[in-house]
Amino acid sequence: MQIYLPIAEVSVNAFLLLGLGGLVGVLSGMFGVGGGFLMTPLLFFIGIPPAVAVATEANQIVASSFSGVLAHLRRKTVDIKMGGVLLVGGLIGAALGVMLFNYLKSLGQVDLLVKLCYVVFLGIIGGLMFVESLNAIRRAKKSGGAPVPKRRQRTWVHALPFKTRFRTSGLYISVIPPAIVGVAVGVLAAIMGVGGGFIMVPAMIYILGMPTKVVVGTSLLQIIFVTAFTTLLHATTNYTVDMALAVLLLVGGVIGAQIGTRIGVKLKAEQLRILLAAMVLMVCGKLAYDLLVQPAELYSIGVTGGH
């Protein structure tokens, strides 16, 4: 069934969009990532104009993240306090990021920078997570299937002032590291045009030392606010949010997110992490491939006045 999208001005198959939304929704519920870093390139691929894809994707992430958060809230796996700290940092970071983005735009080559950013960050994060979770699984196997409860080492993170108790995460740390993580994610999110979940999730696990189960819900909570803000910004300045496209994607997305959350609970933390790492590495590989191999069409058409 074909449907004509009023803002994107293209006609696409409705079931294809539902399916894409569902698939990304499952991943979103499982890993606590918004899925923007997967969905946006997929939308480009089926012929949605980039500006519309980025803006509408933000709107869809609001829906799937909200659906996911509700499921996590019921399981009490959302650290609202931590989410709040991250969000404050995130909004500051996003504002800084937008300024940086505009500065880079004035220099030209911002597209390339965004792509390089993707490759570098996805590569580093995916690689580190992959190795770490592989080691964790191997350790678990060696000790006869029973994972050894490992005491967290005291690092520089624990030596900072303004300590607060994050009850849900079972942490007693300074608010400075989460705020810094929030700012860093906000900057990157604004430049790369995504929610930032795929950066935040590993940062929470490895830098803040939060339990993987709590990380997912907390990350989703923060993503809701960041993407809602982005959607409004795009809708009022660029007029690029396509409601018809968003509805189709989010119907698939919210259902997918519910399924994903249920799968995520059943999986072991290491398995969850290794799957996310594999996915991140795959996207990274694809982007790197596009940069290195001669494209079939060397020319591209852009709309004058847009970006």
Binding site: M1, Q2, I3, Y4, P6, I7, E9, V10, S11, G47, N59, Q60, V62, A63, S64, S65, F66, S67, G68, V69, L70, A71, R74, Q109, D111, L112, A228, T231, L232, H234, A235, T236, T237, Y239, V241, M243, A244, A246, V247, L250, V251, V254, I255, A257, Q258, D290, L291, L292, V293, Q294, P295, E297, L298, Y299, S300, I301, G302, V303, T304, G305
Partner: protein, 256 residues
């Protein structure tokens, strides 16, 4: 006004040489295309007849060229080049105006039914419709850039060259059909019909096809432009409601 137009046409046609007595009478299968939510492209049938005062003029037979042109807009064309091992956009060329859609159908090969001077005068073939005036200042070789526009848009069905696709019967009746793709934009589509003989345009006729969004498509588009804040908040409300709805729905399922 109408009378004046008729008068002008009469004066104009009277000043034309030899074949001035040939005129186009045109019919379209539809002169208004509505883009609805399930719009999936459309085919438009263009047919007509040649009206004459006298017998068919001697000489080579008549040819017909039909051109449909969508609304024009400015474009930016970029070219990638390999730098430090990766492919990056290097040269950029601005096109002042290029139609969003262009189809040209002819009763024979375009080069035969139309001379180059006539093509340039009436802007009929696709390269003639793309205007890039300041291009030579930006890049040394503007030609591959305009070629790329034609190639990329041609691949998505937006630019079409339909040679030998106009059927002519008895040098009087003609018909052709043009497939409009599903990624059509709104606007007035200028439809022109040219009668040519020996490559020279002997008569031409112009009309427009209106392509418009209707119903829900129209409503959403207008809302997004006129009340963007409300549109944005509405999008968010839908997103939150859908997220909550799915969550509640799955909970009911799990209880049972």
């Amino acid at each position: 006004m109408k009378r004046l137009a008729v008068l002008l046409i009469l004066i104009f046609t009277a000043t034309l040489p030899v074949h001035a007595n040939e005129d186009v009478v045109l019919g379209l299968s539809q002169n208004r295309i509505a883009i609805t939510a399930n719009f999936d492209g459309s085919e438009i049938l263009i047919f007509g007849a040649v009206k004459r005062d006298g017998p068919i003029p001697a000489g080579n037979p008549l040819d017909v060229v039909v051109a449909i042109e969508g609304p024009s807009a400015a474009l930016t064309v970029r070219r990638k080049e390999r730098k430090f091992g990766i492919w990056v956009n290097t040269d950029t060329m601005h096109v002042d105006s290029a139609p969003a859609f262009y189809a040209v159908a002819a009763s024979g090969p375009l080069k035969e039914v139309l001379t180059e001077t006539e093509d340039q005068r009436h802007h009929i073939s696709i390269p003639e419709t793309i205007k890039a005036i300041g291009a030579t200042e930006e890049v040394a070789d503007p030609q591959p850039f305009t070629d790329a526009v034609i190639r990329i848009r041609g691949a998505s069905g937006l630019y079409q060259i339909l040679e030998n696709q106009v059927e002519i019967a008895e040098q009087t009746l003609f018909r052709t059909s043009v497939a409009l793709p599903s990624n059509l934009t709104e606007g007035h589509y200028k439809t022109r019909v040219f009668l040519t003989r020996d490559g020279k345009v002997v008569s031409h006729y112009e009309t427009t096809i209106d392509v418009q969004k209707v119903g829900l498509e129209r409503f959403l588009f207008n809302l997004s432009r006129e009340k963007p804040l409300i549109y944005g908040l509405m999008s968010l409300a839908i997103a939150i409601a859908a997220g909550w709805g799915a969550s509640a729905f799955f909970r009911i399922f799990q209880r049972t």
